[in-house]
Symmetry: C2
Subunit: 349 residues, 2 copies
DNA sequence: TAGGACTGATTAAACGATTAATCAGGCAGC
DNA sequence: GCTGCCTGATTAATCGTTTAATCAGTCCTA
């Protein structure tokens, strides 16, 4: 047992320099009136002692914990790493820590998870809601990252525009019949992406949508999507609304002996981790998560500093939508009119 | 401006019931001596008022923040969602919040990220180190999840045993020549997995290892692995050390017209999100993250409650290794002696 | 009936930082 | 020389909780 507490505090610095605690506090925060030389001396001594302010003490006094919560309905989402990384980066740049909360995919426990965060005293939260769940504003400022078309959205990628990028890309390649593959018709993000694709079609092009959740209700989880049949029907491009579905489509097509991109094209969304390394690498649309997270966090920080403690507010940002970027890789290629309706085993070249 | 602070505190409950603050505190925590009826009345009233204790006040007094840090060197790791979910679940069951820290893959900034956590006053940390980086014990208890073979490991999946499971499975299917595919020779986890595979081989079987990072140093990121050539050389099974590499191998083989599992088998590790839904679905080995996280967090909580504040300790748990579970899916199949050395386009059936 | 043990409650002192209010001088203006 | 202002520092209160120390009774025992 050495001394009482290992970390030096304001009091130790103060007595050690023969000044008052308040002066030390003022010197370090640059707030009160302290002479320049004294500020210098105090700063020096504090650094020397390795002083780190106690968050607990500060939080108690100021009513601010310096921590924000990150809420995702389903943390198992493959986008989660990118989101968490971007939010953590932006938050730590703004001087905040990030506390995670998970409701394990259950919409009912989402409220509970949010409550845990509030009880932990977070100053605000970044919420990425599931499907169309509205966030009943909690007991603190909330920034929502969803899609521009949902009410209450703070900032997000422009999924609609991303869809248009895909459509234009496929149109440029000469594709006429496109199958859009989504996994959840309730998702507002996926609906916007699909809407964007449809809006980007040129006259004469047509699109149909395949919702995997419907299919799996009968066929069971992981069932085949029947894409070979779709190829025979004349579809030459498969635009998945997420790279996970794109991957599923790609492998199913490959297994059926259909060559991507020679026979048909496959595109995705999100530029997930595997997209650059599968064969053929996936053409996809990337959202600029760093920018989105930066806007969300700084808008949140703004609102926090303006609002009084424990007040529930929906945060708004000046620029609501961030453009998505088309990444063209190998999985999309020109539609050769003569090669439609291939049968298994017929290879090109 | 209503009253001073929105949340009720001990003082409000106390005056409202005409008792002292200490009595309320004792009643709610069940610690001091309070009559049963009074306890009942206080609890009731507290619930009625919606009292939530201030973490800041408690932290200041007790020196414990009730928060643990989760440190990963690379948060973009596709395993991260599962890890974060499991840790968050275990932590919140133990009454802890989880603060994340990211060093963006940079080993140098890992120390900085850990520092941020310490400054935020975490009571302890769960660290999943990169490669063979040793954790210089920080200013708080640290639980390390790596692999049983590394010194200082607290608890982890038994990667070696997982490798053996794969080897035995492939041996049972009749495979003789196995190509192990890893992406990083420095990774102790991957080395253990590879070692386990080798140890599980039967007499007459042989294995070679392909490290992707070496290959990419020349070929560039995402370059082909040249697996078709390996098939011609007589390899019939490709045992990747992670599902990401397995996916890469699978798609490359499929693109080359080699059928999985008819011609060759592919296996992975970790049962990542896409493994069940690609075609063919991936045979893999799953680690029981919930159990591992549970052990790590409860061992950490134990150590925290035993140690004095800000003391750096490496946490140990009673059971260090958790068995991995083989998941047999479609990507692995029997090795048919007559069908070896297939050329592109030669389909079976 | 005095002293001790026990019960059920209160008092008061922390924990560490912030900040409004105060104070001691120095200096200028009248 | 008195008043007022400005600078540079201090005093002291406060945030909400925990907990050791204390206190007022009640009951039991010698």
């Amino acid at each position: 047992m050495a001394s009482s507490r290992p970390g030096p505090n304001l009091s130790r610095i103060a007595t050690s320099l023969g000044v008052s605690i308040a002066t030390v506090s003022n010197a370090l925060s640059g707030k009160g009136r302290v002479s320049d030389q004294l500020v210098e001396r105090i700063r020096e001594h504090a650094a020397e002692l390795g002083y780190v302010p106690s968050q607990a003490g500060r939080a108690l006094r100021t009513g601010r914990s310096g921590v924000i919560g990150l809420v995702l309905p389903d943390i198992a989402n493959p986008l989660f790493p990118k989101i968490a990384q971007a939010i953590e980066f932006a938050a730590s740049a703004a001087g905040y820590g990030v506390l995670i909360a998970d409701s394990r995919g259950d919409a009912a426990t989402q409220a509970e998870a949010i409550n845990r965060l509030v009880e932990r005293g977070v100053d605000g939260m970044v919420v990425i809601p599931r499907r169309a769940t509205r966030i009943s504003s909690a007991a603190c400022p909330v920034a929502v990252i969803d899609t521009p078309s949902t009410p209450g959205n703070t900032v997000s990628a422009d999924h609609w525009q991303g869809g248009r990028e895909i459509a234009v890309h496929l149109a440029d390649l000469g594709h006429q019949r496109i199958l859009i593959i989504g996994n959840n018709q309730e998702s507002s993000v996926q609906n916007d992406r699909a809407g964007g694709i449809r809006a980007g079609l040129r006259p004469g092009m047509q699109a149909e949508t395949l919702w995997i959740d419907k299919l799996e209700r009968d066929g069971g989880s992981g069932c085949p999507l029947g894409l070979a049949e779709r190829v025979r029907q004349g579809f030459t491009a498969f635009a998945a609304l997420s790279d996970l579905q794109a991957l599923r489509a790609l492998t199913e097509l490959q297994q059926a002996g259909i060559n991507v991109p020679a026979d048909v094209s496959v595109t995705g969304f999100d530029d997930l981790i595997w997209s650059p390394v599968v064969t053929p690498s996936l053409t996809t649309v990337r959202m600029d998560m760093d920018t989105i997270a930066g806007i969300a966090v700084s808008a949140l920080a703004d609102t926090i500093s303006k609002s009084r403690a424990r007040e529930g507010v929906l945060v708004t940002a000046e620029s609501e939508r961030v453009a998505m970027q088309l990444i063209v890789r190998q999985s999309s290629g020109p539609c050769e009119p003569g090669t439609k309706n291939l049968r298994d085993g017929e290879q090109i070249r």
